[in-house]
Amino acid sequence: MPNPFQQRASEFRRNEAEFLATLAPSLFRMTLDHFDDPQELLTKTVTFTAPPGSGKTTLSRFFQYATLKRLLEQVQRTSDETYEELRDLAIERGFVQDDRLIVCGARISFERDYRELSLIGYTPQRSHELMLSLVGARAVLAWRQAFIDAGIDCSQVRVIPTPLGEARLEHLGGTEFSDIVERATDVERIIYRLTASFIPPSEDELLQQLGGQFYPLLAIDGFAIPGQEEPVRPLLMIDDAHWADRDQHHALMTHLTLREVTIARWVLQRMEALAPNDMLIWGQSGATPVIDGIQRQRTVVDIRMTQASEDMRSGVRRKFRRAAAEIAARYMAHIPDLSRNGITSLAGLEVRPVATAKQIELAQRLPEVAAQNLGIPPVQVEQIRQRVYDFIGKQTDYNVETVAPAMVSILLHRQFKHTPQHSLFDAHKDESLAEEVVVEAGPEVAAGAQVHLWHKFAVPYLGGLDVVADLGMENVETFLQLAWQLVRLLETQEVIRGDRSTSLTVKQQHDALMKEGKRIMQEWSFPHAVSVRKLVNGMVDLCVKRSLEPNAPLGGGANAIGIEQTKFAQILDHPKLAEALRFGIAYNAFTLTPGRKAKGKLWTLLELGGPVIAACGLTTRRGGFVTTTLEALSDMISGATA
């Protein structure tokens, strides 16, 4: 098998067994567990929208008929718990009942040749009819392939019509599935030839060849297959729908949401398929609320796979950590040089950095310098120091020699901000009556200390599997890109030392993650990447500045910028900025999180992506943001900032 870390999961796996061997059930659960009623996803049109690498195609491949059939066989054949978990997931989602498949999932890709149909020069209505007929034809052929792959004789399959679809089914070929397949093959051939021709036929000629519209989705309700009493429900998964132009997309969605359509239908697409207002102001206004990243309308369920609501995000993060660990372990098992030597997990990565003697020396001077500059009485300094060491003593993940003094320094600055300032001429200041210490040591102060230490003295802090998962920002591809750098180091380490170590120092990890983050940023080449890069650089400047304030007001610091939600609703008045945001979000440069409550207001956050955080030395903790305006962001793009 090729290196799974470097290949897109859904593209290279030649067969279902290989594909199943690399799946992590928790990844699907992150998206699907919000639906208690499995029928909701099988009766309505569902759109799954996410940036590349989020697992859309993996999801669609998993729910294909042949894949699930293979899964059930693997469960019988092996005692692999993961297969059992995946089977349980399929049962929960209504695809399997009593060890039988009751949903026939087939996947088609909305390739670029569909788009050709809109460029031929026919009337828009005609070109949409052609597009929908081609979708219908390919859907039928995909189901046929699903049956063949599952070893089912297509000549024995009968089609069950929709309540109002009998007449239409007759027009399509009848109730015998093989007749409809034959018609679908003709339709596909005619339309495909059309897209490949230099001079297309006239509309009349084409209509004559086709014999009318071919809309099987309006006529098919189920398939009766041999050996199974209950009919199977068809599921059509249309992947890569972002390739459709806007009008085509609208026509497609309109067709899929027609009342006559009773099959299950999923549309999977990248975020650039969405109109700017759909992407940027989604869920912030309007009658239909967004809950858990899902907008439920009467006929459409709109799932944004990486746009969890603010209050659900920490739960999603925890789930992703688990998924990431699973995926990494399964992938590492497929790298011979590692698996041969028992190196099949990233769980052994160190989390506690080791500082050099020089770094320790410099860090330990921080409290003294702060106390002196701020004029904090020694008794307060001692109290703060005590609080810090009380906290640190209970932790295992921090380097006490560096983090503790940095925390003391931060708390001294915080204490100073809370202390009323005495006059210079007040000679009778009694230090024994010093103000009460009002600051506390905690994980957010420690996180701030780590960021300070990195920027001041290059003390690393990005280490451990959880950190790598967090930097993935719930995007599998990003996680794999970052994790691969560490896996490579482990591989090299094994070659050099031959000692089967599964551990890397925090410095090794931080350096590798930073380098990879920079490389990812450098290689951004999506539309408006230049503007996105300027935006990101501007945002980073704001975040670093805020994070490095001596009192670390945001704890770990900022890794996002926030705009008042009511003001952000005007984003479409800044078209250049809107386009840059659209593509920046679509390609994981940052994520959009509306609905953050702070300072008595609602904010829309743009949270920097994991590679940016790693490249620029920001915190991985969520929550800290710098407030700004749409105008300031526009200025970043135009280069007008000071």
Partner: protein, 379 residues
């Protein structure tokens, strides 16, 4: 040796950090698989990585980084596939344009117009047939040249060897006459252009050079003269036209070789004008010319140059190598200073550190160990 073992040893020899090892291992695995392991002298169990470890061990630890850097960034390895590519493009890039130009000149038209005129196209066919290709060594790969040009170049126009006997010359002329007859050509059955083809010229001295005999006399030597002697004794039938053209073509050349050959050929024709059947015109061509900055520069690459002197064994010098005019082979034969390896052998114009091997019998200095061992053709 297992690849991992070789990499581990390499890491120990070089003392690399983990990160550096990762980068270098990636490159080493790739370059070994794609190029270096194909070196003809390597065998299973002793390929590039193993050879590299042994090679680096001869240097003091403080010098190993310089030596490795040379291999990493300076070494040029021409693989068999690349050489074949140069053979493939010899006809379309070198031979055809010249024939086209000659025919165009005869017709007073532009070269592209040749194809628009039946007469000119016919003359092109005739001119092509009246071209002879002789290989100066196996490395010329005239067998591949023949295969690449089936239908364009006849087997009877291509010979591996330049010292032909009379019978062979006779056969060539006989076949030429027959083919010209088929083309209804009235041109004489003689070759208008003769190509002498070889794989590589670093200094050009193998092809043509002067030597001082034991009697102190300066003599011209080289493959050109051997060819001309053979041509001179080709027999009663005329082989070449009166105004025939010589094209000296190498697949790979250096500027030094080009300059030497252009000068030497012009000079030898003057010196020995009555002794050989001289060409009316000559040209030096190549499929690939190394840039002027390709050879090592002792000043700008002083660190590696220092190694070529420090880790040197005078015992590798021979009478043949002294013909280059420079005794010390540290910077290669004739001080060509090339960082070049060919897949089938390393030319001795290349810096000696890459190819030289000390022998117990002749060693007079440092025990040199090669990275790409050279098969010596001359003692």
């Amino acid at each position: 040796m297992h690849e991992q073992t070789a990499l581990r040893m390499l890491n120990q020899v070089m003392g690399w950090s983990l990160e550096r090892s990762q980068e270098e291992f990636q490159w080493l695995r790739l370059i070994s698989a794609v190029k270096y392991d194909s070196y003809r002298d390597f065998l299973a169990g002793m390929r590039f990585l193993e050879s590299l470890v042994g090679w680096l061990l001869q240097f003091d630890p403080s010098d190993r980084e310089v030596a490795y850097d040379f291999v990493r960034r300076r070494l040029t390895f021409i693989s068999a596939v690349e050489r074949e590519r140069l053979v493939d493009n010899m006809y379309p890039r070198i031979v055809l344009p010249r024939i086209l130009q000659d025919v165009a000149d005869d017709h007073h038209i532009a070269p592209w117009q040749v194809y628009t005129s039946d007469k000119a196209r016919h003359d092109l066919e005739v001119a092509r047939r009246r071209t002879l290709f002789l290989g100066l060594s196996d490395g010329a790969r005239l067998d591949s040249f023949r295969h690449a040009n089936v239908g364009r170049i006849s087997n009877e126009q291509v010979v591996v060897g330049t010292q032909l006997d009379q019978e062979k010359w006779g056969d060539l002329i006989k076949d030429l006459k027959k083919d010209l007859g088929k083309l209804d050509s009235t041109k004489p059955s003689t070759f208008d252009t003769i190509y002498l083809v070889d794989d590589f010229a670093g200094s050009g001295t193998s092809f043509l050079r002067t030597e001082t005999s034991d009697q102190g006399k300066t003599e011209w030597k080289g493959k050109l003269l051997r060819f001309l002697r053979s041509l001179n004794s080709a027999g009663p039938e005329r082989v070449h036209s009166d105004d025939w053209k010589l094209v000296v073509h190498h697949l790979i050349m250096t500027h030094k070789a080009v300059e030497h050959l252009e000068k030497a050929i012009a000079q030898v024709r003057g010196d020995l004008k009555d002794e050989y059947p001289w060409f009316a015109k000559f040209e030096v061509t190549c499929s690939y010319l190394f840039p002027t900055e390709f050879p090592l520069d002792a000043k700008t690459e002083a660190e590696f140059h220092r190694l070529t002197k420090k880790y040197y064994d005078p015992g590798i010098e021979t009478d043949a190598t002294k013909k280059g005019g420079v005794d010390h082979l540290g910077m290669g034969y004739a001080a060509c200073a090339l960082p070049l390896v060919l897949d089938h052998n390393t030319p001795n114009n290349t810096v000696a550190l890459l190819w030289a091997e000390s022998t117990a019998k002749k060693r007079k200095g440092h025990h040199m160990r090669p990275l790409f061992r050279r098969r010596q053709r001359h003692s």
